[in-house]
C-alpha cells in the first residue's frame, strides 16, 4: 500500500481554500459556518470518488463508509476562529489518502470521518461527544456560542443532509493523525510522535478573600492582601508539586482577577484558575490534594478566606496497545530513530471515541510548537511521513 504524496498534499492545500484567512496559510472555518459546510461538501465528493458511502449524521459529523467492518481514520475539518490549515484537516485528508491507497492495493477496508465542532464553538469536541454518547443531541442543541447562537440553530442549514447516527459497531478501531501543537518533536528534530495517552485535565477556580484597604495607611503586617495570598500559594505549589510530578506534568494559572484591581488599594479579593494535566489519574488526584491543602494553609496563615469552585475533570485515556504497536512499527519503518512515544497534552476527538472503540494517535511536528494561530505549519516532508506511517500501520493491522 503506497499513499501518493502529491495527491495527498494537493488535497490538503485544496481544503485550505475553504475559509482561507488571507494571512499565510491560515483558515477561518469554525463549525457550521459557510466555509465549514462547503469544505464538508468538498470532502464528501472526495470520499465518494474514493468509493466510500457518504453519510452526515444529525450533528454534521461527516463519514465516508467502507463496506463491512473497517478501521475508522480521521479527525475534524472545522477550525479555530483564527486557525491553522492543519489542525484537524491533516487527519481527515490523510485518512482519505490511506483509504484510497488501501483500496487500490487491496488492503484492509478504511472508513474516514470528519467530526464536527472539535474546536468548541459550542462545547468541547462537541461532534464526537454526541456521537460517542457522552452528550445527548438535545443537550448539545441548547449550547450557545459567544454570540448567543444556539447549536440547534447553527446546525439547521445542514438538516437536509443528515441521516441517522452511524453505528460504531461497524468499526474495529480509530486512528487519528494530528499535528503535535507543542514544541517537543520540532525542537528534537524528530518526524513522528506515537501517542501513549491523552492526558487528563483538572480545572478549578479558587478565590481568596482578604481585606480591601488603603495602600498608604495599612501597614504591611496588618494587611490581608488577596494577591499576596495567590503569590504565596503559587510559590508553595511549585515546591510541593516537585516530588509528585513528572516532566510531562503541566499546571497553569492562566486567569487572574483582582478586586478592586486599583493601584492604590490593597486587593481584597483574588479569583484565579488553576488547571493541571497528567496522563495518570492518581497523580491528578494527589495534585488536587496538595493544591487544596496548600490553599487552606496559605489562607489560614494570612487571614484570608479560601473558597473552591466546582472542579472540571476529564480522565486520562491510554491508547490501545495493539493499534499503538502498529504505529510504532510504522514509525520505525518510515522515520527510523526520528520518532518517539509521547503523551498528548491537548484534548482530541480520540478522547471521546475511546469510549466506543480501541483508539490510537500519531503526531507530526508543529514548527516552533505554534497552533491555534494563522502561523501554524509543518514541513511537507513531515506531513508526508505522517501519512506514510498511518498507511504502514493500517497495512500491518490488515495483515495481522
Amino acid at each position: 500500500m503506497t499513499p501518493d504524496p502529491d495527491r495527498f498534499l494537493a488535497d490538503l492545500h485544496a481544503l485550505r481554500r475553504f475559509g482561507a484567512a488571507g494571512v499565510g496559510k491560515g483558515v477561518v472555518r469554525p463549525a457550521y459556518c459557510e466555509a465549514d459546510v462547503a469544505a464538508r461538501a468538498w470532502l464528501a465528493e472526495r470520499m465518494a470518488e474514493a468509493g466510500l458511502a457518504v453519510r452526515y449524521d444529525p450533528m454534521g459529523n461527516l463519514f465516508g463508509l467502507a463496506e463491512g467492518p473497517s478501521l475508522l481514520l480521521g479527525s475534524h475539518s472545522d477550525s479555530q476562529p483564527e486557525g491553522g490549515w492543519l489542525d484537524g484537516a491533516l487527519g481527515v485528508v490523510a485518512a482519505l489518502e490511506v483509504a484510497r491507497a488501501s483500496r487500490a492495493a487491496g488492503g484492509p477496508p478504511v472508513s474516514v470521518v470528519s467530526f464536527q465542532d472539535e474546536e468548541g464553538r459550542f462545547g468541547v469536541t462537541t461532534g464526537s461527544a454526541v456521537w460517542s454518547g457522552q452528550l445527548s443531541l438535545a443537550e448539545a442543541d441548547r449550547l450557545t456560542d459567544h454570540a448567543g447562537v444556539a447549536l440547534a440553530a447553527a446546525r439547521a442549514p445542514m438538516a437536509g443532509l443528515a441521516g441517522a447516527f452511524v453505528d460504531p459497531g461497524r468499526f474495529t478501531g480509530f486512528i487519528e493523525l494530528h499535528i503535535e501543537q507543542g514544541p517537543t518533536l520540532d525542537s528534537a528534530g524528530e518526524q513522528i510522535g506515537v501517542v501513549s495517552d491523552i492526558v487528563g485535565i483538572r480545572d478549578m477556580r479558587i478565590t481568596f478573600d482578604g481585606q480591601q484597604n488603603h495602600a498608604g495607611t495599612t501597614p504591611m503586617h496588618l494587611r490581608r492582601d488577596a494577591f499576596q495570598g495567590l503569590a504565596a500559594f503559587n510559590a508553595l505549589l511549585e515546591e510541593r508539586f516537585r516530588n509528585v510530578v513528572t516532566p510531562r506534568t503541566v499546571w497553569t494559572i492562566g486567569h487572574v482577577a483582582l478586586h478592586p484591581n486599583a493601584t492604590s488599594i490593597v486587593p481584597g479579593r483574588a479569583v484565579f484558575s488553576i488547571q493541571w494535566r497528567d496522563g495518570d489519574a492518581d497523580r491528578l488526584g494527589r495534585m488536587e490534594e496538595i493544591l487544596r491543602a496548600t490553599a487552606v494553609e496559605v489562607a489560614k496563615a494570612r487571614g484570608l478566606q479560601v473558597s473552591f469552585g466546582a472542579m472540571l475533570g476529564l480522565e486520562p485515556v491510554a491508547m490501545d496497545a495493539r493499534l499503538r504497536a502498529a504505529l510504532e512499527a510504522g514509525a520505525e519503518q518510515v522515520a527510523p530513530k526520528r520518532w518517539r512515544v509521547l503523551p498528548s497534552g491537548a484534548l482530541h476527538d480520540a478522547t471521546n471515541v475511546a469510549r466506543l472503540l480501541p483508539v490510537a494517535m500519531l503526531f507530526v511536528p508543529s514548527i516552533d510548537g505554534i497552533s491555534h494561530a494563522f502561523g501554524e505549519d509543518t514541513a511537507e516532508a513531515d506531513l508526508v511521513a505522517g501519512v506514510r506511517v498511518l498507511a504502514a500501520a493500517v497495512d500491518r493491522l490488515g495483515r495481522a
Copy 2:
C-alpha cells in the same frame, strides 16, 4: 480658649445631611456636585456668623478669612463617590469651631479653609494643588472625570461665587485635623496622632512579555509564563526589601492584568502596578533601584521581556517643627499618654500647602481603620479630643 463640643458635633452632623447616602453616616458629595456646592454655601454662612470674610476662589476653594495675619486651619468638604462623614469634613468643622472659640476668647486670629476636590474626582488634591501653584488653572480645567466631564464645565456653576485667589502671604501656617484612615491609633487605644511627615509615593507600571502558549502541550521547562514572572518578582522583592524598609514602609501590587487571561492558555503578558510609600526620599530611591534590578533579573532568568512605564512620584513632606511641637504639647495636655507621633501614609491637602507655608497635621482614630466607605466612623469622644488639641495648639502658638 474653650471649644464647645456640642456646637462642634452639631455642626459636624449638620454637614453630613448634604449628600447623605442613607446608609449609616455615609455621604455622597464629590467635588462640584449639587450637595457639595450646597454644603459649601452652608459652611460659608457659618464662617460669616463667626465673623470671617467669606471668599471662594476660581477653583471653588472656600476660605473664611480673619483680618490681618492669621493661622489657616481646615481640610476639604468634598467626599469620595461612596464616602464617610468625617474624611475632610472633620478638619473643616473643627477649624470653624477653633476660629469661633479663639475669637470669643480673644485668642490669635484663625482663618478657615475647605479645599475643593481633595478626593480627586479630576486629579489628586486638585483644589490645593492649584492654590499652591503646582497645577495651573488652565491645566486643571482640562482634567476630566470618569464620565468624561471636564473640570472647566464642572466648576462653571460656581463661577458667580468666585473671587480672586487668596494670597497665601496672609497666613502664618496651616494645620489640618483629619481622621487617620488606618488602624494604628484605633488598635492601640490611643486618641491622637501627631503627624511627623506625609510619606512620599512612587508608582510604576511594569510589563512582562513572555510567550502565549497552549496550557496542555507546552512543557513547564519550555514556558515563558508572564504570570510566573510576576510571582517570582513579587517574592524576590519581599526578600530584598527586607534590609531596606522600616515598619512604616509599604508597597503594593494592586493592579494585575494578564493576557489573554484564559484558563487553558499560558499567560503571554502580565501588566501590573507597583506602588511604594515611605517618609524618606532616599529609601524610596533605593527601593526603586532594587525593584528595577529585580524585574530585569527575573526577566532574564525566565526568557521574558520587561518594560517599565513612567514613574509617578510625590516627595515626602516633613511637618514644621514649631507647629508640630504645639500639637504635641496640646496632645499631652488633652490626652496624656494616649497619643503618638506617626507618619501619614495617605496624601492630604497639607502636602500641597507645604510648598507655601509651614504645615502640621493631627489625626484622630478611624474605627477599624475604615475610610473611603460609608462605614467610616470615629468615637465622638475622640472627635472632641481632636478639636481640643487643635485649640490648645493654636492657643499656645498665639502666646508664643
